[in-house]
């Protein structure tokens, strides 16, 4: 049964509505039921650096909310996925800790988490639950002219133990396979496994922006038509910050950044509106021409 508690996180529903829109519309076409839970809040990721236990409580609260509905959690943001998958694993394996966390959770929110659900990234749901074959069958638009640079980011894959080692963190393939499944080309480029730097944007902007600079350079050099991301914060670093990075280095990339569900939607024949293409900051005639 492909029914999930849909975890939007903080960034996607405010800053990358194109991602959310494309995810919802492709999910509907592929028979994935996404249940909204308004009470979901911060996953705890930013608090891990501040206070371990507080972060764990925040994750546990969201896990409890999904569990109350009897649903696994499906997230759009890789950091939300990683943080909650890791918390989930810890709470499932360490019963004593789970009891301690539950006492705190009960006192502060009136909730309890029994450890019965799983946490998935939306792209992982597409890869594992829907599968490449069904995705291939859903394609109606020819994307064979597109050269796409897959950006996996970090928390979609790592820590790999929290993600059941579902893909190889050193040499991942799932996003490449998903890109190929819709008929586009997933190209090799240097710095493919590079982090977006989003985690330190607040601490040191100059250092943080040096990371996406490297990746933009390499993806453009490899002749990419677009970078394909699966995390709203990666998008902020590569798309929202692209103009600033261009200015700092006195250069010009104009490299479109697409969320994978947008690519999938285009391949399935969804309209530009249905995949939120008008909200992408770096415009591309080539991509617009592919939309129905």
């Amino acid at each position: 049964m492909n029914k999930f508690a849909f975890y939007l996180g903080c960034t996607a529903p405010v800053r990358t509505l194109n991602y959310e829109l494309a995810a919802r519309n492709t999910a509907k076409r592929l028979g994935i039921e996404l249940v909204d839970i308004n009470d979901f809040g911060c996953c705890g990721f930013p608090v891990k650096s501040v206070h371990h236990e507080t972060a764990l409580l925040m994750s546990a609260r969201n896990l409890a909310l999904a569990e109350e509905q009897g649903l696994d959690l499906c997230a759009l943001c890789s950091s939300c996925t990683g943080t909650q998958a890791e918390a989930n694993r810890t709470l499932q394996e360490d019963k004593e800790l789970r009891e301690r966390v539950n006492q705190m959770l009960k006192a502060t929110t009136g909730r309890r988490y029994e450890g019965t659900i799983q946490v998935h990234h939306f792209a992982r749901v597409l890869y594992e639950k829907i599968g490449l074959e069904r995705i291939r069958e859903a394609v109606s638009v020819d994307l064979s002219d597109l050269r796409l640079a897959a950006h996996y980011g970090c928390h979609y894959l790592k820590p790999s133990a929290a993600h059941d080692h579902f893909d190889d963190p050193e040499n991942p393939v799932s996003l490449d396979r998903l890109i190929e499944a819709v008929g586009a080309n997933s190209i090799y480029y240097e710095e493919r496994d590079q982090c977006c730097g989003g985690g330190i944007l607040g601490a040191d902007e100059q250092t943080a922006l040096a990371l996406p600079h490297l990746k933009l350079e390499r993806a453009v050099a490899a002749g990419a038509d677009a970078l394909v991301v699966i995390c709203p914060f990666c998008d902020i670093m590569y798309e929202f910050q692209q103009r600033r990075i261009e200015k700092i280095h006195d250069t010009r990339y104009r490299l479109p950044v697409l969320f994978y569900p947008q690519v999938l939607g285009l391949a399935m024949g969804l309209s530009a509106d249905e995949v939120g293409l008008q909200l992408n900051r770096v415009k591309s005639r080539k991509l617009m021409a592919l939309a129905r």
């Binding site: 009470d39 650096s49 502060t108 970090c154």
Partner: protein, 172 residues
């Protein structure tokens, strides 16, 4: 860089204190091979961040130097080192443990203080106002109502609320 270490400033209990933190347990397993530093994308762009150096400083007991530094806040949490460490030092979590100790002593990076404040006020990092919900409605997306109460209670219960108050005054 180029510091002479004054042995009198070394605190031999520092590594134990870190090891007592969740995530810091494996600090003494480090044999300083440098796989972390070679794997680090932040180290690739700045010499200010060097995980092997930070771990070594912590094991030596250079407590003040580590906790007052700005470099401990430069880990992007990419987990590249974490995956590759041959000694399973779990470096990303170890860095979290070191930062947790720093915060407890009142040394929190300003951006994180702001983020905790936002979570207290909104239960999320970005607030959802009528403007956001209008934009969402225009695209056919469901509206979101902020539910910050549980978050506020969690922060009070764990003492974080107090910990992140700016010195000598109420929060923003």
């Amino acid at each position: 860089m180029g510091h002479t270490i004054d042995a009198r400033t070394m605190d031999p209990t520092f590594a134990d204190q870190i090891a007592a933190e969740p995530g810091g347990e494996h600090i003494r397993r480090c044999f300083a091979c440098g796989t972390c530093t070679a794997s680090c994308p932040v180290r690739e762009v700045t010499e200010r961040y060097n995980p092997r150096r930070i771990i070594h400083m912590a094991v030596l007991g250079l407590r003040e130097l580590v906790l007052s530094s700005d470099f401990i806040w430069l880990c992007s949490t990419c987990y590249a080192c974490h995956e590759r460490c041959p000694q399973d030092v779990r470096i990303t979590e170890l860095m979290h443990a070191i930062k947790n100790v720093a915060v407890r002593e009142g040394r929190i990076s300003p951006s994180l203080r702001v983020q905790v404040g936002l979570i207290r006020e909104h239960g999320r990092l970005y607030d959802i106002t009528g403007f956001e919900n209008e934009r969402r409605a225009d695209l056919g997306l469901p509206s979101i109502t902020e539910q910050p109460e549980d978050y506020h209670r969690i922060l009070v219960a764990t003492g974080l609320e107090e910990m992140v108050q700016p010195e000598g005054g109420a929060a923003e």
